[in-house]
């Protein structure tokens, strides 16, 4: 953008480095200490071991939490993509006040502080007599990630423009045929990208979940409970594994969302 002097460049790089140390530095502590023995609350730096991981493998609650997280993540992503597509198709099907209101409402659970989204659902479930369970968690997550998938699909549909669909209809295709042969193939890559991002968001969602969860806890809730109880070596092992998974998910998301040429051309 600008031509930067050498001094300016050095100063900026230094400031940037500080920020990245603050962002990533703290994460190194649990990762590194997960590979050492811990005695009396102190890391024994001369005793490398995998005992934290062994303790983790024996923690049955964790495995259940991982399973729950996966169930919730996949269900919420799947539901959000289907509902998001339907809503986007309706929104792009014309202009009306009702459509604008719908458009606005869909973003609310994502934009409002999570405590409000969570409390609304909590109170709603209580008043309708729905007990807190995995289903209520899936509902909360679906609403949270719906805004994102809906938004992405609307953007894609708008960039497609009406001519393709008009052509299909003029040639005598039924709405179902247009959907199957024109719209869905054009949406495919968008749906995959939105799906990965939705799953990542659901995987991490804590504040809404904390309010609507019953006894079937997801991984972040399990972690939260473990951390509040105090220090345990298996937390570090779990943190390391989750961070590893996140990084893999990020790499996959980047590969999918950015067209292959932009990565190669640089």
């Amino acid at each position: 953008m600008m031509h930067l002097s050498r001094v300016a460049l050095v100063a900026l790089s230094f400031a940037t480095m500080l920020v990245f140390i603050a962002l990533y530095g703290p994460l190194l502590i649990p990762i590194i200490s997960s590979f050492f023995n811990i005695a009396h609350g102190e890391v024994q730096w001369h005793e490398p071991s995998l005992s934290a991981y062994q303790a983790l493998a024996q923690n049955a609650g964790i495995l259940t939490a991982v399973r729950n997280t996966l169930i919730v993540g996949f269900s919420a992503t799947f539901l959000a993509l289907i509902i998001g597509t339907l809503l986007a198709l309706h929104y792009c099907g014309g202009t009306s006040l009702a459509r604008d209101l719908m458009h606005f409402t869909v973003f609310l659970p994502f934009l409002m502080p999570p405590i409000i989204t969570g409390l609304s659902l909590l109170i709603f479930f209580r008043e309708t007599g729905i007990p807190r369970s995995m289903l209520t968690v899936i509902t909360g997550h679906t609403l949270f990630v719906l805004a994102l998938s809906y938004r992405t699909i609307v953007t894609r549909l708008q960039s497609l423009g009406p001519s393709l669909i008009e052509a299909s209809t003029d040639l005598g295709a039924s709405p179902g045929q247009t959907l199957r042969f024109i719209i869905l193939p054009n949406l495919a890559s968008t749906l995959v990208g939105a799906g990965v991002l939705s799953f990542a968001l659901s995987f991490d969602e804590t504040m809404i979940t904390l309010l609507v969860t019953g006894t079937d806890n997801t991984l972040p809730i399990r972690l939260w409970a473990m951390m509040r109880l105090g220090f345990a070596p298996d937390i570090n092992a779990l943190v390391t594994i989750v961070l590893g998974l996140t990084v893999i998910l990020c790499v996959v998301a980047v590969r999918l969302l950015l067209p292959a040429q932009t990565i190669q051309s640089e």
């Binding site: 409402t105 405590i115 409000i116 109170i123 904390l210 937390i235 640089e266």
Partner: protein
């Protein structure tokens, strides 16, 4: 626009409309409405009394605890916004000036923490804070300080530090986007007319990136004020924030109607901040 030829009687458009209005109505509008209504109910012998009253709001305005805590929390979140912008601006500026692969990698490094588990990040930061924490011990060990700093003890300071680290990426991105939108021709013109780099920055780049700064501030403030996990984890005994008080109404205090009323107030503040932010942003564009 879509399905223009679907005028022959088909179920499809009606199905679409049904889902499009049904789902948001049932799962977003209705819960929100019941939440707002709950703020006007009150608790009686552990049960919710559904007679509407302003009792919760009167308690909020008359009790000596809530308004000071809300004020303190707002100041805290404002400080977090200021700090994230202060530290985030240089990163965004560098990002806007890089090209090709370097820019790609730096942008990725800003984005990755956003997808990392929030709770894990808090846990990691907590593990280095504290009076006897790693940060203090490290500073003592290298001899920079000779007494543990109280800056890192678990109280509101720790909340401030933790929130700043957590929310920096949310400040970097809008500033970066606003820097990207500045037309190159303006900078070239300024340079051609003999302005130094510093002058161009002060008179062209900085004013034109103000909308990005404002939206960064709004973003960070809104995220910080709604957070109850961070103060709960690193706030210790004294680090009370408004979000934490709300959350306690659903746990230890177990007063849902009052919690709903407090959250409504939080919601009003959030909406007000977003509106002021929008106003300022458009004034600068």
């Amino acid at each position: 626009m879509l399905f223009i030829g679907a005028s022959r009687k088909s179920l499809w458009p009606r199905l679409l409309a049904g889902v499009s209005y049904g789902v948001p109505l049932l799962f977003i509008v209705l819960p929100l409405a019941s939440f707002l209504a709950y703020g006007f109910f009150h608790l009686e012998n552990g049960n919710v009394n559904y007679t509407p009253s302003l009792g919760n709001y009167i308690r909020f305005f008359t009790d000596a605890i809530f308004i000071p805590v809300l004020w303190q929390t707002s100041l805290l979140c404002f400080a977090v916004a200021a700090l994230t912008i202060l530290f985030g601006y240089p990163v965004a500026f560098l990002l806007a000036n890089l090209k090709g692969r370097r820019r790609h990698i730096l942008l990725l490094l800003v984005l990755v923490p956003l997808l990392m588990s929030y709770i894990i990040k808090i846990y990691a930061i907590r593990s280095i804070l504290g009076g006897n924490g790693l940060l203090n011990r490290f500073l003592l060990w290298i001899g920079l300080i000779d007494q543990p700093l109280t800056l890192f003890v678990f109280n509101l300071n720790a909340v401030l530090l933790t929130l700043t680290v957590l929310l920096i990426p949310f400040a970097i991105l809008p500033i970066f986007l606003s820097l990207e939108r500045i037309p190159r021709s303006l900078i070239d013109a300024s340079t051609d007319l003999g302005a130094s780099g510093m002058q161009t920055f002060r008179h062209i780049v900085l004013p034109l990136s103000l909308p990005g700064i404002v939206s960064a501030a709004t973003f960070v403030f809104v995220l910080a004020i709604g957070d109850f996990l961070t103060p709960q984890m690193v706030g210790g005994q004294s680090g009370f924030t408004f979000g934490r008080i709300i959350y306690s109404q659903f746990g230890t205090a177990f007063n849902w109607p009052f919690g709903a009323a407090l959250s409504t107030i939080l919601g009003i503040i959030v909406i007000a901040v977003i509106m002021v932010g929008n106003r300022l942003e458009h004034r600068h564009t």
